[in-house]
Symmetry: C2
Subunit: 419 residues, 2 copies
């Protein structure tokens, strides 16, 4: 590892154009930005606005280039602008995107989802992960005629009033029928189910614990099995939220390696490699209920995004994407671990290697994580101080080597700043 | 009007490929389709699946071609595949669509929305109309610290649990804080506000009454003024749902001609001429609250859709689209009225000419409307028997002449079927 090429030295890193755009944005957008991409929630030194993206590389509006480990917060599972996906989308778009009904692309994608996901007998499509998780709750309630949904404390399932992590603008009734449990704790699941008092419609659970600002936890097999058994015992639906993790752990669904199949699953992010699409899949027990609910949207049948999703799934299958992402994530993780050990720094890398989370020991205000990440940015690598990151199938060993040159600088900066 | 060209004679109209696709879809999609584009809710003879679209023309998977008056249920305000919009989207997509933050396209579009919509001091963007109406409710609640929202009985505001028109999968709590009023009835609005008992957060109202299966009603100026005054008196937010009508009645918002400005407005459908995008606009009184809520989505910053929206708005301005759509709608409406009068048929054409709704007298089961529409389909014109239709700026006088040839056939069929 002979260091990183010159174009990855962003030092001194200009951010003047970003600042100018932020000032313009502040006039016409509340706070200048909203939601999970609001850079005001990140340390100083993060760009808010980007100009271009290709493969694993992002360029901000000031021309700084980064090897990216956020993948647009997940969607870019094959890298930005994957030629195969873009060609499929463009070919479909040239004929038709939306119309008064779907195109054949809908049927092809639904068939491919059913073929890819062993738990799925059918599929429906939408635009947001929140559309998919919300529809799952509706289907579970329609099927069971009951109301209560068990949800892990602190888990993120979207930003509708029933699930947004911030209370502003929501009412108590939005969550009236949610009951909390602790992730990976079968006993708390049983207690929550008992608290539902015969009104249990479903158990909603993320692919693994990937809450922000918290160590990630892989799903314990006994927990997954307990969730399945509990749902069966109560005649409730087991709902897997695979929006964030989907297609990075296993193409057939993140719980396939655990041998546990949900009744319903919510998908989005990586499904269309950046094209706006979400999906609900379900088994035959949920089919009639899925037909009885009314969910829809003006753009949900967009055929270009469906063609993109079909191309994405096919390529993921063909290239063995999961194994590659895991290998690249593992290389990054082991490299960082060795660097940290050499510097005597305590840090925790948790969750699956394909969705890395890195938190420093004794870092309650994330000062270490922030210094680490901003230093990495200065050396041409985009990481996140408190959200899980994302590998893509486009990441190469060279990308990891570049990243490790930057993480070494970041760790050295943290070590130097030690009191 | 010498009749319609040969390519618009779809008689006998094959639908075999459509039927085959429906059979495949039935296996992998609950009921074969969902939502507002489900052709199972339409009379026999409607195609479910489409193959291509250009301008005002749609081609189904069996090769039948139609002059389209649904515009994909609204989005296609400049016609399918408008070259200017597609070029803007493609140019942006070639650089970047989604990334770890937005592109400059976000700021440009927000600035253009604020410039275009006199009531707007700021804008935020999303993917679905439902995202936008839901965010409006959240902002109104966050700003006022109150909960009740007044909603017109029967109005459609999206398909989230709080607003979906079908009860399956929803709970009573989803609508716990909604209070009904009658559209265009200021007294019922006052009563509903009183029923809120000091807990009034907002008044949500559609641009005009465009409920399905019902005569449309233009908004009475005194009703709009009463809604504004009532919101002011209660310190509540006036929220205009301009998702369906937006940019077809007035580019600055559908209530601009009435001289009434909402505090918040929801937009989607036509904003990006088919590209998936929605927007919330608001005034400065709502800015801080808009910043305090947490709403987001993986694809909400998609720069290609934003570039498409900017190009759409600019073209709508430049070509005087509203006047053209109104003129074409008026030509269609007057032609149909004359045809019906000549045949002694009673029918009602209601609402704005740009969003036509046609319902037959004495047609409780919509048998006449269905016969009319299917006959029109056979003659190469796609209309809807119980949903408002949509004109686009791409519709030409020639399109209207073709349409009137088909509507004459449809009306003649209805006249022949009279008992």
């Amino acid at each position: 590892m002979a260091g990183h090429p010159a174009q990855f030295r962003n030092d001194p890193r200009p951010l003047a154009r970003d600042a100018a755009l932020r000032a313009r944005a502040a006039r016409v957008i509340p706070g200048g930005m909203w939601g999970h991409m609001n850079a005001a929630r990140l340390p100083q030194g993060y760009p808010q606005f980007f100009a271009s993206a290709a493969g694993t590389r992002l360029r901000d509006v000031d021309g700084n280039e980064y090897v990216d480990f956020m993948c647009a917060f997940g969607p870019m599972i094959l890298g930005y602008g994957d030629p195969e996906v873009e060609a499929a989308a463009a070919a479909q778009r040239g004929r038709m995107d939306i119309a008064n009904g779907p195109g054949e692309a809908l049927v092809e994608l639904a068939e491919l989802m059913v073929e890819t996901v062993p738990a799925a007998d059918w599929a429906m499509f939408a635009k947001n992960g929140t559309d998919a998780t919300t529809a799952c709750l509706m289907i579970a309630r329609a099927e069971t005629g009951r109301r209560k949904i068990l949800v892990a404390r602190g888990a993120y399932h979207g930003s509708a009033p029933w699930c947004t992590p911030w209370p502003a603008g929501t009412t108590a009734e939005d969550r009236a029928h949610l009951l909390p449990f602790e992730f990976n704790d079968p006993a708390s699941l049983t207690e929550a189910a008992a608290a539902a008092e015969g009104d249990l419609a479903g158990i909603l659970v993320s692919a693994f614990r990937h809450d922000a600002r918290t160590d990630q936890e892989l799903t314990r097999p006994d927990f997954a099995a307990a969730a399945r058994a509990l749902a069966d015992r109560h005649g409730a639906a087991l709902i897997l939220d695979d929006v964030r993790a989907g297609f990075r752990l296993h193409l057939g669904g993140s719980w396939e390696p655990l041998g546990v199949r949900p009744d319903l699953a919510a998908w989005s992010k990586a499904l269309g490699n950046g094209h706006a699409i979400a999906a609900v899949t379900g088994n035959d027990a949920m089919r009639a209920a899925a037909q009885r609910i009314f969910v829809t949207g003006s753009f949900w049948c967009g055929a270009a995004a469906m063609a993109a999703a079909t191309a994405t799934l096919r390529k993921l299958h063909r290239i063995g994407a999961v194994a590659h992402m895991e290998a690249m994530g593992q290389m990054l993780r082991e490299g960082i671990a060795a660097q940290a050990a050499a510097l005597g720094l305590g840090l925790r890398q948790t969750g699956p290697a394909q969705l890395p989370m890195m938190l420093f020991d004794d870092d309650p205000d994330l000062a270490k994580g922030s210094l680490f990440c901003v230093t990495a940015l200065d050396h041409g690598v985009y990481m996140h101080p408190w959200h899980d990151m994302f590998l893509s199938a486009a990441h190469t060993e060279e990308d990891i080597r570049i990243a490790l040159a930057a993480t070494r600088k970041g760790l050295e900066a943290v070590a130097r700043a030690q009191p």
